[in-house]
Structure formats: C-alpha cells, structure tokens
Symmetry: C2
Subunit: 367 residues, 2 copies
Amino acid sequence: MTQYRLTPLAQSLPATVPFVGPEAQERQLDRVFDARLGANENVFGPSPRAIAAMADTGHWMYGDPESFDLRAALAAHHGADMGNIVVGEGIDGLLGYMVRLFVEKGDAIVTSDGAYPTFNYHVAGFGGTLHKVPYKDDHENPEALFAKAAEVDAKLVYLANPDNPMGTWHTGAALARAMNLLPQGTLLILDEAYVDTAPEGTALPLDWSDPRVVRMRTFSKAYGMAGARVGYAIGAPELITAFHKVRNHFGMNRAGQEGALEALADTVWHRDVVAKIDAARQRIAEIARQNGLAPLPSAANFVAIDCGADGAFAKRVLDGLITRGIFVRMPFVAPQNRCIRVSCGTPENLDAFAAALPEALRDAKRG
Amino acid sequence: MTQYRLTPLAQSLPATVPFVGPEAQERQLDRVFDARLGANENVFGPSPRAIAAMADTGHWMYGDPESFDLRAALAAHHGADMGNIVVGEGIDGLLGYMVRLFVEKGDAIVTSDGAYPTFNYHVAGFGGTLHKVPYKDDHENPEALFAKAAEVDAKLVYLANPDNPMGTWHTGAALARAMNLLPQGTLLILDEAYVDTAPEGTALPLDWSDPRVVRMRTFSKAYGMAGARVGYAIGAPELITAFHKVRNHFGMNRAGQEGALEALADTVWHRDVVAKIDAARQRIAEIARQNGLAPLPSAANFVAIDCGADGAFAKRVLDGLITRGIFVRMPFVAPQNRCIRVSCGTPENLDAFAAALPEALRDAKRG
C-alpha cells in the first residue's frame, strides 16, 4: 500500500458521508421507493418557468462566476445590496467556505447536539473543536448556544431557524433579542433554509449588513430546486468579500443560475407551493395522530413525529417504512431520535405513507 | 469596521478571481460578444441526448451523492473500476479537494510558469509554496518539472497534457517514460481536460490504479457541458477514497449527472464534434497565417497564435479583438504571453474573428 502524503489533518479524517442518499438505499434494497420523503426535498418541484429556463440554458457556456444577474435579483427581492450576497453550490458548499475561512486546528465552534451533520462534517474537516448544547423542548436553544460560545470563545455558532430535524422555530424577534447575548468575536451562522415555509416573522428582522450574523438561504426547499444546487449567503459586505478568497469561482452550474432567477420571479407558483407544503404538513400530522403518535409543530417542509418511545423503537418504525418503500429519515441524537422525520409529499405520497405506517408501527411494537 | 476572526491564512489571501468571466466584460463594455472564443468552451454544445436528459431531470431531487450510475458508465468506458473514479464539480473543484488533502502551510508544490492559474489559486489558498519551472519551446517540460519536484521534495506536481494555454502536447508514451524521473513521495496531477481532442496516443498509457498519478477529466470540453460542472478524477482506489473525507458529497447537480451519462453514450455526436473542433483548429491556424502570424500546433479545442512580438503587443491585439466583440484570452506569463489564445468556434464565429483580426493587428502596430 502506497503511503500518500496527506496532511496530518486529512490523514485523521474518516472517509464518511454525512448522509446516505436514497439512491444508495434503493440499490441496496433493489427497489425504487414509492415515496421519497426523507431528504426534505420539495416534491412539488420548481416553477415551470424555472424548468423551462434550465432546459433552455446554453450548457456549453460556463456560468457567470459573479452570478451577477441572480445576485441583482436577490438583492432587489430582499432589499439588500449585491455586495451583501454571495451565491454558492448550495448551503452545504457555503458552510464549507465559511468554516474554511474561520476555522483552523483547535478553534472552538458551537452547535446544538443533533443539529445539521454537514456543518459538523465541515468543522471536523478543518480541524475545529465542536462544542454542543442540548435542545430544549425539541427547540434549538439560542441563549444556551450563545452562553456556550462565550464560555469557549467560539469563532462561529450555528443555528438553524426553523430547525432541522425537528421543524420547530423561534420568532425572528425572539432571536434578535437573544443575539444580545452573542459574545463579541463570535459570528452567528443562521441557517434559514426553511424560512420560506415558516410563519411571517420567523426571519431575523435585522439589517442585512449586521456584522454579527451571516444568513444562509437556498433554492433547494420552498423553490424546489435541490438538484440544481443553488444557495446563497447574506451578510455584511466585508464578510461576503471574504468568500471570494476561497470559493470555486466557476463552480456554479449555469442552468441553476438561470433557473433560480425564474424561480424567484414566479411568485404565484411559489405561494401555491408553500400552500401545498402547509397542507401536506397538516396531513402528516393527521396521519400521525390517527396512529396514536404525536406530531411536532413544524415551520419547515417536513414534520417530526414523536413515536412515543426511545430511539431504538423509532428506528424500527423507520426501518419498517423503508422496507415498505417509504423513504424517511430520523434525528441522530437522543432525545430527538424518538422521532421520525417525514418530508411533505404529494397526496399520493402521503396515502402511501398512511398505508405503511400502521404496519411499520405494528412490527416495531413486536420488537 | 468589524475585525472578523478569519484564520491567519485566510486573512492573508487576496479576494481575487482566477479569471474574469466574459459576462463581466460584457457588462463593462455594455455589449454582447459576437463570438465567445476566450474560455475554451465548446460552442458545438453537448449531445442532444444530453440536453434532453438535463431538461427532463427531476430538479426537485438532490443528486446521488455517490454519482453511482455515472461512475459505473465511466468505469465501463475507461476499463476501470468504479473505485478508481470520483465525480466532482468540475476539475476546478476536484483540484481544490486534492490540494486540501495534501497541502498545508509551507508544503512544496511544482507547476509550470504560466500553467493553470486555478491550480495556483488553490495552492495559495491552502498555504502551499509554489515552485515554477519554465516552459520549453512552448511545451510543458516534464523532466524539468520532476527534477524540480525532487529538488524541493514536492508533494504534488501539476502537468496538463495537452497543455493549456499553449495547446501543445506530449505523447502518452513520452510522459510515461518521463515518469521514471518522478520522485517517490511526489504525486503527479495529470490534467487531461483536453485529451479528448488530442491525437490517439496522447493519454497516459498506464494502469488507472498506478499510485503515482491522478488523472483529471471533464465534460466541459469535448463533451460541451462546461455550464453543467461535471469533472472526474481517476486514480488508485486508496487515493480516490481520500476525496470522500473532504468533498461536498451533495455538491453535484442532478442534471449534470444525468446529462453526462447521455453525453458519454452518444459516441456519434462526440466523434462529430471532435471533427468540427479539428476543422476549427485548422481554420484558426489559416486565419493566423493569412495575417502573417504563426499558429502553434494544438491538440486542444483552441489555438495559441504567436503575434510575433512581446506580451504588450499581444495584449493590444487582444484588446482590439475584445472591443470588436471577439472574446479571446491570452497566456499570463512571458514568453508565452506573446500569443493570444482563440477557442474553436462555429464557422460564423471564425468569420467574425477573421474580420476583426486585421483591424486589431493594425491598431496594435500603431501602438
């Protein structure tokens, strides 16, 4: 075996994937899922205008490395300046750049225990030391996160609002108040991937140039373009400029840039999809209750369902659903892992889920 | 001004872009280019089968993080194992991962003076020390590169074959012989982005699992899918596995994965495009000669044209072309910067180039 001269940090990293994809599970099960409800995708899809724009793209041309037109449209949409915005290869890619800019070996970073594993993957990948704070009543706990950040002198603190995997949320006003506890020298990464399906007032009501926070947004959720990989970060221009030091300038696919422009413009489709997601959330909750389970309130495009016992039990429910062709996921960490997490689907998807859940529960109770 | 707590390395990096995109130049000039011949894109575009596949993609779904189907097809195409192949967000993205895996502050890396700037951008971005070797007669010089690697104990040496920006090439057999000089402990990154338009025998004729080399390939050039951002690396399984430690597992756009599958399968289209590229190379060379300039032989999808004087003169020719609506680029470093670099275009593109070049030359000679 050749000994490659990886950096000591790279040597120490496992070759893991934060999530196993549904395709890998399908290959393993040798069947196609009837309902794909595990990755918080948006089964209602993007605006037809976005689909048409992506189909008509001149694929032979590199995308504009500045994503100028998309940033201009986003700036107008948000009432921000173009200098407040950087577009990247999904929030995952942007989180990687953020961590790379800020974190070297031993730097302290704070997140919730059970929050987004891909953020943790990036922190480990750059040698940071992750400090975790427990959820509080299935909500992320901003006050505890910021207190921990002060305690360990964290460079970054990660907080998703609405939260994934629980779907719970805080009002933007409450978050803004909590930010008074954010220590100087700690930057808040506020992941607002799911804010488009949340009640009015969930977005943080602070100036886009507030230097204490960088906000992450995406076209993967409410806009239905997960496959296109278009995310963006909004923050103070000085911070946004730092991305240009390290980002893959020609990394954006051109179809994604052009599709996102149209998706943003088609406000009628967007409102309709958000309404469909809301209806699906209610249906999932109803199915849960019909089976004697407790759905958590959700502002996201999924619902966490409390299976009423421990993580081992929820895992059996999950396995029972998967073997019945229903792709779902579940939180990784106790006590949240007493739940399964079901993404909003079409009425047909949810019929399939409703049919499979009683059987999965019956098998899970048998142990 | 807030002082963000970037790492010392990130603090030290400039917020530069390796290349300014043509769209930025168009915005500055307030006109659209008549011929887009500067980024070595493939104006003949992808196979209609690839275009259809990209249009039909379920954009709402994340791409398969394993790119399983595409890797299986590539393995069959190359006579390799799937474990030899990792798919990534273009060669640019894969080069970034390679550098991240191998390079920390002060590590020695070798490349040619005037070779691919994006590789240099990544090396600087991870704190590596770049050692450069001059071109020899407008060719990259493998023997000198490998001797320099031995001298500085380089972890990585970068070599493009065919070369960009000159278009020149070595036979695979000659490269394989030169590799006897590659020091133990140095890994060769062989960028074969342009190998699909090169003469038979240009690809390195070594086993895909040879531990001394990792090869970079792309769908951006002969396959005409630059906008889709699909590249791949081929190497020993142990090396390929290391990518999984750091890559953005869900970074691939789904349309790109599915389009690449079809592009690879449509061998008729591929052969036809390669023939068109060859015809365009000949036409560019002819236009150059008609203007008293010397085209360099090229195995790539562009031709470097020696403007017969220094870099300042070539820059004036380039500026004259750009103001006349012809987007071209030029090498950055002397003596290669006596050339301009013209990508293969349609007959109409090259008519426009042929019309603009005499005027640009006339103005350049006036100084």
